[in-house]
Symmetry: C2
Subunit: 546 residues, 2 copies
């Protein structure tokens, strides 16, 4: 991790802090050693007292202190040997998530908040700051033509007319006692039944799915959070290929203290990897092995299919291989299928894991789905889990009292999912047509600008390569380019936020209404022209200096 160069007084202050941490660690370790000796003495003496509560409390306190000091990272380097490499507060959290370092990131430190409170502020504020800017200053063709255009958050805004019309129909409105009172924390039975039927049909399941194995919570992040909470203890890990959808990482790390171990995919193409960012079992095995060597306990494997932001849709054979890999390594297989109805290229076939006849490890295969992406109603805050394990459904459902959604929303969702006629004849054909058209418009524009991208047939975004606009090609420069986009009032999602290992990639959401998309792409072009111009000027200046 590269570090910003600070002013000398700041560096000195940090050096002192490192010394103090060193002393504290030494002291705490010696105290802990003594406490352990005492505890062992107690254990091996023949007439042991019944209560050891006090000693255990002391031991626990000392261990927490040592852990905190070790985790602060400040004691891992000898202060005298490298006084100029201090580490910022909260840096451990940054490392885990591999978020960008440097000048554009503000570490939050408040004495009023807990350590995790400060980490939450640092990471979430960083992650959501663009979105907050957008909310405060949205583009509107007539009322706010200079407002932000957001092509960085994966939302399908192409069919809101259809959805609004359907949701406004009379059958959607029901207010009755059951909907107003405390519900089953796993979700109302009527909605779980509809979700089971819906997934049976659209995931092409060979047998009807069981509503008792469905859990409904407020959004897929909440589902993921609850799922990893009951599967993993703090410090344990989940494996996932990157680049991938960012918020899951925040959720996992900050609230549940579960680590995400990235399986870094890259754009290099070779004989074994004919496609850029190709996921293979070899890469999974290698990442798992590396993690285990570092002492990580990996409990699960998160696969996104159709993949976001790459747009890859995995073949039946690949899926089977990934499932075998999970089974071989005793990993829970979590498949995020939130884009299952957003495959708009007719030549591409999506296979749900629920469609496979022979699942290698039935009770450890779990699917996350929501209507946020496929129906463009992220504001409904709906997410569902389908798991083959009734035990896991019960455990995740237990957390529903913290992640429930309102009864009236559950009712509307059940009506929506029930209306197959409308979904099959009106919504899906229109949605796919519009996604195709917006995708085509965007890719033609990208081609015109000479921007390389992955051409896929699913999802709401395109994974584009802007490394030619970075000099040097670093994540710092990627963030600078991102900042330039913000200056031009257009938001894209930088690859680093998707934990991409190569700088220069961006996620561009195309499922946006035409006026916004047009204007957004125009602003992107303007920003890139400006960037190009600056790079040229810098090059000229450097050449002249030489």
């Amino acid at each position: 991790m590269s570090l910003p160069s600070g002013d000398p007084s700041m560096v000195r202050g940090q050096e002192l802090r490192v010394w103090s941490a060193y002393t504290q660690l030494l002291e705490s370790l010696l105290q802990l050693e003594k406490a352990i000796k005492d505890r062992v003495d107690l254990l091996i003496q023949p007439q042991r007292p019944v209560s050891t509560e006090e000693q255990d409390t002391n031991l626990g306190r000392l261990m927490r202190r040592v852990t905190t000091l070790l985790q602060s990272g400040e004691t891992s380097r000898p202060p005298a040997a490298s006084p100029h490499t201090p580490r910022a507060v909260g840096a451990h959290a940054q490392d885990q998530l591999q978020h960008p370092p440097g000048p554009l990131r503000v570490t939050y430190v408040s004495s009023e908040l807990s350590n995790r409170g400060n980490d939450i502020m640092t990471l979430l504020n960083f992650s959501f700051q663009d979105f907050m800017s957008f909310l405060g200053d949205k583009f509107h063709k007539d009322e706010n033509p200079l407002g932000f255009i957001n092509l960085g958050v994966c939302e399908n805004k192409l069919c809101s007319d259809l959805v609004t019309k359907r949701l406004s129909q009379k059958d959607m409105d029901l207010i009755e006692d059951t909907l107003l009172q405390y519900p089953d924390r796993r979700g109302h039975p009527f909605l779980r039944k509809e979700v089971a039927w819906f997934l049976t049909h659209y995931c092409n399941s060979h047998a009807p799915l069981d509503p008792e194995n469905v859990v409904v919570l407020n959004g897929s992040s909440a589902v993921f959070s609850a799922l990893v909470t009951v599967l993993c203890d703090p410090g344990e890990a989940i494996l996932t290929p990157t680049p991938f959808y960012g918020p899951f990482a925040l959720t996992a790390s900050l609230y549940t203290k579960v680590h995400l171990i990235p399986v870094h995919l890259d754009s290099e193409v070779s004989e074994e990897n004919p496609r850029p960012f190709q996921l293979t079992v070899d890469k999974l095995e290698q990442a798992l092995w590396d993690a285990q060597l570092k002492g990580k306990k990996v409990k699960g494997f998160l696969l996104i299919n159709p993949q976001n932001p790459l747009g890859d849709v995995y073949s039946r054979d690949s899926l089977q291989e990934f499932l075998e890999f999970a089974k071989r390594n005793n990993l829970h297989m979590i498949v995020d299928e939130r884009y299952l109805l957003s495959v708009f290229d007719e030549s591409v076939t999506f296979h749900s894991v629920l469609s496979l006849r022979r699942l290698p490890d039935l009770s450890r295969t779990h699917v996350i789905w929501s209507t946020s992406k496929d129906f463009g109603i992220a504001g409904f805050r709906f997410g569902a889990l389908y798991t083959h394990s009734k035990e896991l459904a019960a455990a995740v459902g237990s957390l529903g009292f913290l992640h429930g959604l309102s009864g009236i929303t559950q009712y509307k969702l059940s009506r929506l999912l029930q209306d197959r006629e409308w979904i099959n004849r009106v919504f899906l054909p229109t949605s796919h047509n519009r996604l195709q058209a917006a995708h085509k418009y965007t890719t033609i524009c990208l081609q015109g600008l000479g921007i390389p991208f992955l051409k896929r047939g699913s999802g709401l975004s395109i994974w584009i390569n802007l490394r030619k606009y970075l000099n040097p090609c670093t994540f710092d420069q990627e963030l600078c380019l991102h900042r330039r986009f913000l200056d031009h009032k257009v938001i894209l999602c930088p690859g680093k936020a998707c934990m991409c290992s190569e700088p220069g990639w961006f996620c561009l959401v195309f499922a946006e209404k035409l006026p916004q998309l047009e204007q957004g792409l125009f602003r992107l072009q303007q920003a890139l022209l400006e960037q190009e111009q600056e790079l040229t000027e810098r090059l000229v200046a450097n050449t002249m200096r030489e």
Copy 2:
């Protein structure tokens, strides 16, 4: 903690497990001692290597192992000395929450779930099992006259006709893009504005409250969970008087790993404590001091006002004293005011902390409110935080991406809160009248049965004393009586679930529609008669044996 007497083979199995845990602990402690020695050697040698990552990982792993073993509780007793007092897995969690022990509680152990997953299953399943029975077999006068009547969950069901009518009006329905898309994670600005206005008015604030200091999440448990997450690190604690509303305890302990330190109030009346269960600053100071002596880091003080389940409404002077106590001890003051509009006795005046002109510690005073209790719409899953600290509002709001509620629900809530005409002229007068009538009906019935209770003028439940039906007067017997109620298809909330320190108290919800209330009280009476009869029979049998 008393323990159930099991069959001999089970006891033997548990004994073996205790031996094995003993060996494991001893081994782990010795390994940890060695690891600490190595780490200290590294720290004090003059030429220290820069990276100590591997050693630290090992140290962390060993400490986690020791912690897990210590927390399992199995090693705190010498197995040989007391072979018949084994401790069940997950018992540490039971102790923390002071939940009932014994034969009616099933400890969940699954190798598929994490330790916290098992704890969650154990505690939440226990807490919600009555409610799940009720959901699966609800009383209905005509369709299911033998179904459960639930007088154990605090819900106001008396005004659902009014609320249903209001929510069904035309102005409630709006479907538009903003409501369908990702919202501000702190809640939509239009709703935060209404909440600020609403609380300004009904909490009698001398200055208008700021919508930027409001955070809207999906339920007050979610608000509490998010709040303690950003205020406390795992292992830190919040002080709260008990008996108190149970689910907060589950939330705090299971998801956020924050401990609740009870300030046990009791029914004894003396010169200094003229009221049973009276809260005083002395008791708070004592509990805080005890907790600190045990090495607990207490970060906050949770006060419920109007109190649930006691029904106490604190005077302005008492509030001021509690606030001074919090200030003096650097504690965040969290006031749960969810029953603020449920004060139905006209002689009782509620004072919100937001009404006080001089708050001792402005930025550390936080209020939780929701519409679940006052409006009887728990199914809306709405909870709000008002804090004087913008920083805290931002931090709690950050977790809104896991605890958001749907846009359409937010819209309906904003319309509801806006309609002062309806609230003041229709809803509140009717609600208070009906609460009064139901309270009167219930207390007359209790008097008829000779059951002592606290007579208060707020809330939805009555705190009743059934200790005369327990012999011996223990928590095990309290649970047996509770089970007898279930046999009679009526649910009450036992005092132990509210962390009451005296066995025999129950919380009886009276805000129920008349047919259910009538039938519920009849069943209660039947169950108590049966209990009385059994006690008499047992007494006779014992006398004859002597």
